[in-house]
């Protein structure tokens, strides 16, 4: 072959290769049922390789489920350690690359519906597909319901309280069995803990990456406030409750210097510090202790939890949220049923999957945390699940006794939560970084921005 012929052959090969790869990219795989009549579903949120035990548990669950249901094939997809990192989740939704059964937060329903990816599963979610369905807390089902239609299945829920480091409490001369019940008590405790020195923050708080707004909302609920007016049309943060939230933080951060010097923290930053024993208190859900231990090298025995404090007494309300699985639009009825059966097996059956406490007990994952509470109070499923939890507890349940014994009414997240949290981040960062921050001005700005967001979204 002459040189020009080689060039021509190379060029044609290149062009053909490109054409083939593009064709391969555009080919939509559709292997929902194979020749043997098996139904295949793809499911995300498989643990990543670094989470060895969790990954093994998941794979064992898949194997056991497929053995029980020989006509179903579950294909697992891992989407990272944080199954719903909002930018990745948005990209998957926008790109149409979500799995058949996909994980999302309770606040994601609007986004999932807007993307046109949500399937109405009202007729499929029954006792036939999910044996414990009637026991699942109706309030949690409601979160995944829109216009009377069900679009998702709840698999985890939480509410916030005050998480505190018992070891630091002890060192600071505080009683680890008696967590602060009011914000003035939190301030006093934070002052004593930060006096230990060594860069320890008595109380720590978020102010970036939307987590600041998330926690502002919880703190506002504790003061009896709400982010939006009852009709959801206006911001309701520029009021005495909102001012009290920021005032408390300013007093601790700049008045007492009890919140550490490094601010603009988001989820991983605060938990990294907590794992390193540099945080006395913060607000969070019980499973934050799991993250501290499994991801940030902390120790279970150091952590305990009380109810969310209020200003002068118990908190008026606390922030609740959770997660669930949605179903991708266009699935066959068999695929939806198969997906529901899988969720039932792995997420909603006492003794199996996430409730397989016998399996979890010797592992480095906590059994005995007070949440999730997926099943309605008094239901059979709840009783079974709580009995198993108690029998296999590997954490000291006394550490969560104060939280469990003093339940605070749970309030859900506002509409358009992530956009509102982004706005409220600025109020949090303002008060935590600027000693002269004007609280009224911060709240007025936040109010204006939220109103603008709501107007644009209506």
């Amino acid at each position: 072959m002459s040189v020009p012929q080689y060039r021509k052959a190379a060029a044609l090969t290149l062009a053909a290769g490109l054409g083939l790869s593009l064709a391969a990219c555009s080919t939509k795989s559709d292997d929902s049922s194979d020749a043997g009549g098996k139904v295949t579903i793809t499911v995300d949120c498989q643990p990543v390789g670094a989470q060895k035990e969790l990954l093994k548990n998941w794979n064992d669950d898949v194997a056991a489920f497929q053995q029980q249901n020989p006509d179903i094939v579950v294909k697992s997809v891992s989407v990272g350690e944080q199954c719903n990192n909002p930018p990745d989740f948005t990209a998957r939704l926008a790109g149409g690359t979500v799995t058949d059964v996909f994980y999302g937060y309770m606040t994601d329903l609007t986004q999932v519906l807007d993307s046109g990816q949500a399937m109405d599963i009202t007729d499929y979610a029954t006792r036939d597909t999910i044996p414990t369905w009637d026991s699942v807390d109706p309030a949690l089902k409601e979160v995944f319901t829109d216009g009377g239609k069900l679009y998702g299945v709840p698999v985890k829920n939480y509410s916030m309280g005050l998480i505190y480091n018992k070891a630091l409490f002890q060192r600071a001369g505080l009683d680890p069995a008696t967590p602060p019940k009011t914000w003035p008590e939190v301030r006093a405790a934070a002052k004593k803990i930060s006096a230990l020195g060594g860069g320890i923050a008595g109380y720590s708080e978020y102010s970036a990456g939307n987590t600041g707004g998330w926690h502002f909302t919880a703190l506002l609920y504790s003061q009896g406030g709400q982010v939006l007016t009852a009709d959801g049309k206006k911001a309701d943060v520029n009021n005495p409750a909102g001012r009290q939230v920021l005032q408390n933080l300013r007093d601790m951060r700049h008045g007492d210097d009890s919140m550490g010097s490094r601010q603009l923290l988001q989820w991983g930053d605060l938990l990294t510090n907590a794992g390193a024993g540099k945080v006395g208190m913060f607000i969070g859900a019980p499973d934050a202790t799991q993250a501290i231990v499994t991801q940030f090298q902390g120790r279970y025995q150091d952590w305990a939890m009380g109810p969310l404090p209020g200003q002068d007494g118990p908190a008026t309300a606390t922030l609740g949220g959770g997660e669930g699985y949605f179903f991708k639009k266009g699935l066959s009825p068999e695929q939806v049923r198969a997906g529901l059966k899988w969720i039932a097996f792995q997420k909603l059956t006492p003794g199996k999957g996430q409730f397989d406490y016998v399996r979890a007990k010797p592992q480095n994952y906590p059994v005995g945390l007070p949440q999730p509470l997926l099943f309605a109070a008094g239901s059979d499923a709840q009783k079974q699940e709580l009995d198993l939890r108690k029998a296999n507890a590997n954490v000291d349940t006394a550490n969560f006794a104060a939280f469990e014994a003093n339940p605070v009414p749970i309030k859900g997240e506002p509409r358009n939560a992530q956009a509102i949290y982004a706005v409220l981040d600025a109020a949090m960062s303002g008060v935590l970084t600027n000693p002269n921050a004007n609280i009224d001005a911060l709240l007025t700005t936040a109010e204006g921005k939220i109103n603008q967001l709501l107007a644009a979204d209506s």
Partner: protein, 319 residues
């Protein structure tokens, strides 16, 4: 920069004007050219497909999306609504202001410093290889790692931070760095300059080494000092490279994104780090507003295209 003419492109005097009638030999030549062109064009397909799929299509799609709204899976045409909404966003003007401030500061610091470093390196006679490697080293670090170094090591607001330790040792007041609204931008420019200047230094060095030595000798004989040699010899001789890098730098710095994302965890203290590109990200990926993000992307494209057009016109006139 003069383009070299293709061999044979200029007509040599004295040669007879070619006949317009194609001869068999010419026909064979044309056939060869077609074959050659076909090969060339086939090779070009790869690049064209890549540009079409990864650059032009997303751009067109972005413009289309900026005039649409998707709600409940239904996409409708909404005219200029997305533009109106994005301009009404209270962070819109803050983001543009921040971006321009960053670009301005980056021009002062990020543009001048590499040029001066290149001149210094060019003047040195010893250890130049080592110094070049040292200057280029930060470019080899992944940008995220370099910025995390600054975030946790240099900009720690406590006394433990590198910069604050130095300031304390010098008896100067310390700074909150990324936590101070007034220091956010200078701190981001500083990190960005350190991180990126290696590439620019090497390009300047290459340009400087093309400056004929006799020009400096002549200038020295005429009694020119270092400063006058730089102003009257170095700058005019490297003007085209300087102009090109200035434009590239402005276009790059206007797309400021990773610095606020890592150093300031996004918006920074009270939006002090929010850039236009970050606002696009915020709308698109956190606020369920891909259409608004597309509109802001188009606005940014228009601003940058307008800037580039004016710039090219001005520099063309100068040439």
């Amino acid at each position: 920069m003069a383009l070299t003419a293709a061999p044979g492109a200029t007509r040599r005097p004295g040669r007879p004007t070619p006949s317009p009638q194609p001869t068999p030999a010419r026909r064979a030549g044309r056939g060869r050219r077609v074959r050659d062109n076909l090969t060339g064009h086939t090779f070009l397909v790869g690049a064209l497909v890549c540009f079409a799929v990864f650059s032009w299509y997303p751009m067109v799609r972005g413009v289309v999306m900026s005039f649409q709204r998707t709600r409940r899976g239904e996409t409708t045409w909404v005219g200029w609504d997305n533009y109106a909404r994005i301009i009404a966003d209270p962070s819109f003007w803050t983001a543009w202001k921040n971006t321009f401030v960053f670009t301005g500061l980056a021009l002062v610091l990020g543009y001048a410093v590499p040029f001066l470093v290149a001149i210094l390196l060019n003047e040195l006679r010893h250890a130049t290889g080592y110094l070049r490697v040292l200057v280029y080293l930060p470019v080899m670090l992944p940008p995220a790692s370099a910025l995390f170094l600054f975030k946790f090591y240099a900009y720690d607001p406590s006394g433990a931070g590198l910069f604050n330790a130095v300031l304390t040792a010098l008896g100067l007041p310390t700074s909150e760095w990324m936590q101070s609204p007034t220091m956010t931008m200078p701190a981001m420019v500083l990190a960005s300059t350190w991180m990126n200047m290696g590439g620019a230094v090497l390009i300047y060095l290459a340009a400087l080494q093309n400056v004929p030595g006799e020009l400096y000798e002549a200038a020295e004989l005429d009694g020119a000092g270092l400063w006058r040699r730089i102003v009257h010899v170095t700058v005019p001789q490297t003007r085209l490279i300087l102009a090109l890098l200035a434009m590239l730098q402005i276009v790059a710095t206007m797309q400021l994104f990773i610095e606020p994302l890592i150093l300031a965890n996004g918006a920074g203290t009270q939006d002090s780090a929010t850039s236009v590109a970050y606002l696009i990200y915020q709308h698109g990926f956190f606020q369920n507003d891909l259409n608004g993000a597309a509109a802001l992307g188009v606005i940014m494209l228009v601003v940058l295209a307008g800037f580039s057009a004016v710039y090219l016109r001005l520099t063309a006139r100068q040439d």
